[in-house]
Point group: C2
């Protein structure tokens, strides 16, 4: 018997907005005692707290931020949450609640939204975050997801972008560039598939890259680790647009310069081999790739001993006086001015 | 000399995302001492508070929720904020912060976004609300606005949808149905214009209706008034989808029934005259029209004297036992079951 691909397609129009929200959110658990009232009233209610509240929001648009031809909906839901939690962790905070709003065209059946929400739920369960509200509506074209995340931190623990000082060490968690190369691999496979749909791709040598692109993890562990290590960064930011763009935000807001050392950039072996295969410069990819969702932070030089041997962290440079500018020191010991090649969604 | 309509069109691509956000938000003032950090870091920071935090979000999509052929962008920005503040007031709270995310296609120049943000800023200034963050990105088609509003209220002051009791009075602020009829008038004018662009519309007899559609005001004054009057509603909701749909939310969540009296529904004279002109039933419009952003609430019958003479409020019925159902009592004293004709964006 031939597969009936339409066997389980439920129209969104049949459910209506309230039925749909209820259907998609009824199995979500609440993890935080601060969540007094979640989905189901005019507004959610979060209890008063001894900590400050952190608020961040991000918008993901089909055809701009994601391509459903290789991004499974469950992964998309997961990633949409990660992108936002990452911003809370970048303030040295704990993420506690999210709202999720989606706009979808009629081409999406209920089952597609169930997949999307399965990914959102997995993210909530894994990161102990509560879905407390949102909006669900139709669009005239494609899918759009808007997530707002709320978190908390003690006032004295919050880390802004503007506190870096000359001589501070520049530290990054994890490794860089893999998510961007994962996207290049997926784009190439999509083009191969369009030419020859029978082709079976062998993606074994790109598994790490693809996972970093399709299922990024926000670094919830970093604020926890820093606390254990008794290190409070002087500035911190998450790497969504690429290292160059992010270190430039820190330098501009802190009114300082920086030196980044090319030979210190943490690269996974798959990043090195795949950069070569694509004839791309791995340093350029680490600097400008984006979507790594690692944390970039600065610490006083006195914390060097606490950071240096930790496998989660790489010291990649140091902060300088503002008039020294923002520079990359190459392997050949030449200084080049850093340029933000961060992604601009308005450029075609 | 012929007018050059393109004389002031600045491409969004030239500014980039960070330049754009900075350009659009730099003139916003901060009104609330709880706003510790607004736009410009990974997350905004709101100070800890003696009150609970209220959070609500709404998504407006071009072609679904608004039509730019008759909705000026400044009004759209204003309305996008109102829709969200209304939800905070419906919890009996005070709105304090908003985040605004927008996705726009390349057809919009910078000047269009400036108009949109002028409306957002006017709303912030008028309602003393702080813009604390957001996201700005491109879309493949049209414009989309996602707003999240935060507010606060003492725990004992918060009003949910689920507290209505049998014999409670049902009260509504302002009048009903005008925003919906305003939309009908604008849709008709659009069609006339398409047939004959030279036609000069005479909209004098619809000014109130059009204003209610294009520039709704959220009822910030109602929670303040209720406090002065020492009335705490047992339940409250804002009217975004039409009276029927909203009273049914209150009844379902409170496990009660209701009787609404047709002759008590507050209608502006323009609603009555224009309903006749459109051959529509004004009661039906009041029940199902939507977008009024008035507040619907229930109070104990003991508060009758406090409410009755107040020009801001109309007592339109009372809560009953659940088994009596949800009914409209017509002018002819007949009971009809209420039906939610609330808007379903997924129906074509």
């Amino acid at each position: 018997m031939l597969e009936d691909k339409n066997q389980e397609r439920t129209s969104l129009a049949d459910l209506g907005e309230f039925g749909l929200i209820n259907h998609l959110t009824k199995h979500f658990k609440m993890y935080n005692s601060t969540t007094l009232k979640g989905v189901g009233d005019d507004a959610a209610v979060i209890s008063k707290s001894e900590k400050e509240i952190l608020v961040t929001t991000d918008l993901l648009v089909e055809g701009v931020h994601f391509d459903l031809s290789y991004m499974p909906l469950k992964h998309l839901g997961y990633k949409a949450v990660m992108v936002n939690l990452s911003d809370v962790y970048a303030m040295n905070g704990v993420a506690e609640q999210i709202t999720v709003s989606i706009a979808v065209s009629n081409r999406f059946p209920l089952e597609a939204l169930e997949e999307l929400y399965a990914g959102i739920q997995l993210a909530c369960d894994t990161y102990k975050v509560d879905l407390i509200g949102g909006d669900t509506t139709s669009s005239t074209k494609g899918m759009l997801i808007s997530v707002t995340a709320l978190g908390s931190a003690k006032k004295e623990d919050i880390v802004y972008r503007n506190g870096a000082n000359a001589t501070d060490l520049i530290v990054v968690s994890g490794d860089l560039g893999a998510a961007y190369l994962g996207l290049q691999v997926l784009e190439r496979e999509k083009q191969v598939f369009q030419v020859n749909p029978e082709n079976q791709p062998d993606l074994d040598s790109y598994t790490y890259l693809i996972e970093r692109q399709l299922k990024p993890e926000a670094r919830k562990d970093v604020p926890e680790l820093l606390k254990e290590m008794e290190v409070k960064p002087t500035s911190m930011i998450d790497i969504s647009d690429g290292l160059s763009s992010e270190i430039m935000h820190i330098c501009t807001q802190s009114k300082v310069g920086c030196k980044i050392y090319e030979d210190k950039l943490p690269l996974d072996p798959q990043v090195i081999s795949t950069s070569e295969e694509f004839n791309m410069d791995s340093t350029m990819i680490a600097l400008s790739g984006g979507e790594d969702y690692e944390l970039l932070f600065t610490v006083p030089i006195a914390d060097f001993d606490k950071i240096k041997g930790n496998p989660n962290f790489s010291i990649i440079g140091h902060i300088t006086e503002e008039n020294e500018g923002m520079n990359l020191v190459t392997r050949a010991n030449q200084e080049m001015e850093l340029k933000a090649q961060g992604w601009n969604s308005f450029k075609g």
